[in-house]
């Protein structure tokens, strides 16, 4: 039975009070009812026996009701960090790249580390939306909207770094293949330019996919606002005006939903467009991070010049991206009412399993990279591993000054996800959150290790030089977290954070093959009807 009657939610809304879910008692074996082990039984994707109307109320409630005080506090903090980051970027552009800790030897450090870090985070959103869609994983419907939003905001943060790190900013127009008075065209043989196209395409396609997915849900918000507007002659107004908030909602959501009226003929074209977008986003994810890895793999620097980088980077991106999705959604589940019914323990467990798989792939890639570096007989490649990364100076005097970064990466990326072999850990939100945090830190260190440990001691000992970050390096990175969090909080406040139409579609009562009893309680495990 429903924990909360739908009318109670409406009443709570009218009273200006946020409905709070009554905690369902957790079953030792099945958690919130979704952690079923029997593969023959499909666990519920949404707990609490929710109807379509409940889903609409819950998800639209996040947009229409005032969030708790925590939202404003967090938004203020995020804004301050974003402002700080912006100030640092402006300072960099006015003064020059010397404000960072880069030098002749280590020409890339935090800037490119951060770029690859954020792009990698973005990839999980596309994987959840596109790849899980092609694999018909219905559990993706609760997390795909937020994950796609996260992708777009992460790519925005990522894209700032290649833009600002060029040194001579007044030449940045040269990356774009536009006819100009200097008769200059870009160098299409350079991976750095492939990056420009890859990241721009990735951003554009992700934004289109995200927007298209939101059209039906924006229409839902439009219709609710219109009905409220017509239902009573007065209601909440914008401050200092007479304009009703619902009128603004009806216009803005109405504009962006393009007049969507839920026609099945339209749904047919929509579904095909969705599938094609999912189908091309999958190779897009793989190609984009492979192209990013080419920034390193196509060079001659030992430690960079290795063919394992494309799959290594892609697996690492999915790994790090899922960690960020969990890092955002686990606290959101606690803070927003009823969200635990949409994002169940099974969703978290599935994502934990993906983290375990991709983490193991990444660990295997680390081992293979080292093995092939040794097996190749190339002294410089082997030396990068032994003396630039693995061996601390107290064990071997020729050892690596950045050894702590390498071992932090190993601990966070390879060792910490292994706890997910235990069912207790992978079904505990706190454990998953802790591992996700460690993985995010570890993935940043992975890119730092690749870039800085390879560069600071390259071929000629005479040119070796250490890298130390300046305050501007650090604060710029912190600032991008502020930008990311600001955008994400705005998204949760103003846009439908869950794919309502998709969630409704995977509820058991959405199946048209019920047996005419009029109650719509279809058997989710019914044998295939010939209409499939």
């Amino acid at each position: 039975m429903s924990a909360i009657h739908p009318d109670e939610i409406n009443a709570g809304r009218l009273a200006g009070v946020l409905p709070v879910d009554r905690p369902q008692p957790l079953d030792a074996r099945t958690g919130d009812g979704t952690l079923l082990d029997d593969p023959a039984v499909r666990p519920p994707l949404v707990t609490g026996n929710r109807s379509f109307h409940d889903i609409t109320n819950i998800v639209c409630g996040y947009v229409e009701n005032k969030p708790g005080g925590w939202w404003y506090a967090l938004f203020g903090l995020a804004n301050m960090l974003a402002g700080l980051g912006t100030a640092m970027i402006i300072y960099l552009l006015i003064t020059g790249v010397g404000v960072w800790g880069l030098n002749n030897q280590v020409g890339w450090a935090w800037d490119i580390t951060n770029f690859v870090f954020w792009i990698g985070i973005g990839h999980a959103g596309t994987l959840i939306s596109a790849i899980l869609c092609l694999l018909k994983q219905k559990w993706r419907t609760s997390i795909n909207r937020a994950a796609e939003a996260m992708t777009i905001f992460a790519v925005i943060c990522a894209g700032t770094f290649p833009g600002i790190h060029v040194g001579r900013m007044w030449f940045i127009w040269m990356v774009f293949p536009i006819p100009n008075a200097n008769a200059i065209w870009p160098n299409f043989k350079s991976p750095l330019l492939w990056d420009v196209f890859a990241v721009s395409t990735y951003f554009t396609v992700s934004a289109l996919f995200w927007f298209m997915g939101m059209i039906p849900d924006l229409a839902t918000l439009r219709d609710r606002a219109t009905l409220r507007l017509k239902a009573s002659p007065s209601g909440p107004v914008l401050p200092l005006t007479n304009i009703r908030v619902d009128a603004v909602r009806a216009y803005i959501y109405g504009f962006f939903s393009l007049g969507w009226r839920f026609s099945s003929r339209h749904w047919q074209n929509y579904e095909k467009a969705y599938l094609v977008l999912a189908g091309i986003s999958t190779p897009l994810v793989i190609s984009v991070h492979s192209i990013v890895s080419f920034d390193f793999a196509t060079s001659v620097v030992p430690g960079w010049h290795t063919t394992i980088f494309p799959p290594y980077f892609v697996a690492g991106a999915i790994f790090g991206g899922f960690a960020m999705v969990l890092f955002l959604l686990i606290p959101a589940r606690e803070l927003y009412p009823n969200m635990k019914e949409l994002i169940t323990l099974r969703h978290l467990e599935n994502m934990a399993k993906i983290i375990l798989v991709t983490g193991s792939m990444v660990g295997f890639a680390y081992a293979m990279e080292f093995f092939i570096a040794w097996y190749s007989g190339n002294k410089y490649e082997a030396d990068v591993f032994l003396y630039n990364r693995l061996l601390p100076p107290f064990i071997d005097p020729r050892g690596a000054p950045y050894w702590w970064a390498y071992w932090a990466m190993i601990f966070c990326n390879v060792i910490s996800p292994q706890v997910f072999w235990s069912r207790a850990f992978r079904t505990s939100p706190i454990a998953i959150f802790a591992v996700a945090t460690l993985v995010t830190i570890g993935m940043w260190f992975e890119r730092f290790v690749i870039i800085v440990t390879s560069l600071h001691r390259a071929f000629l000992p005479g040119e070796w030089g250490m890298f130390f970050p300046t305050a501007v390096d650090i604060l710029t990175f912190v600032g991008t977290f502020g930008i990311f969090l600001t955008l994400f909080l705005l998204f949760m406040k103003f846009l439908p954070a869950f794919a309502m139409s998709e969630i409704k579609n995977v509820l058991p009562q959405a199946s048209p093959h019920d047996h005419g009893d009029g109650h719509g309680h279809a058997d989710a495990n019914a044998p295939d009807h010939k209409h499939h």
Partner: protein
Amino acid sequence: MAKQGKIYKTPSGEVVYGVMAEFATPGDTFRAAEKLRDAGYKNWDVYAPFPIHGIDEAMGLKPSKLPLLAGVIGLAGAAIGFFFQWWVSTYGYTTIVQGKPAGAWEAFVPVTFEIGVLFTAFTCILGMMAFNALPMWYHPLLKKDRFLRVSDDRFVICVESRDPGFDPEKARKMLESVKGYNIDLVQD
């Protein structure tokens, strides 16, 4: 829109767009759609908060042309991208890198792929909008409060008056016979 035969008016004098009925469950809607398809109706539609599984066949819809269009335009885009890179590297700003030929195709693969994906994606969204005649912010059905609940949890079938054999009474009887309720005329 051109109507064949009579023009029907509501009691208050507005032109009729069609007749709509609500249905209780996706199953009822599905079976009703099959009956309407078999009865030979051409201008009608099913409205649901999500795409009902199998409704395309139940309505007798032809498969969408969007994937074909997306594929063609995507490949065309890839070809354009490849040719553009080749022209830039050999004539526009001839670039010799590492002693390799100026027009070496291997280097052009990543950007060609990305441009192909970009064109495909634009075709998907713009094609979807074109095939669905969107944006269409004003529509007779969107003026009915009853219809606005489709986005929540209602299922509606609407038979449009531009169907050649349209007759409000026949349509009403048809919809009642397939378990429709709250049957209503929709003004244009």
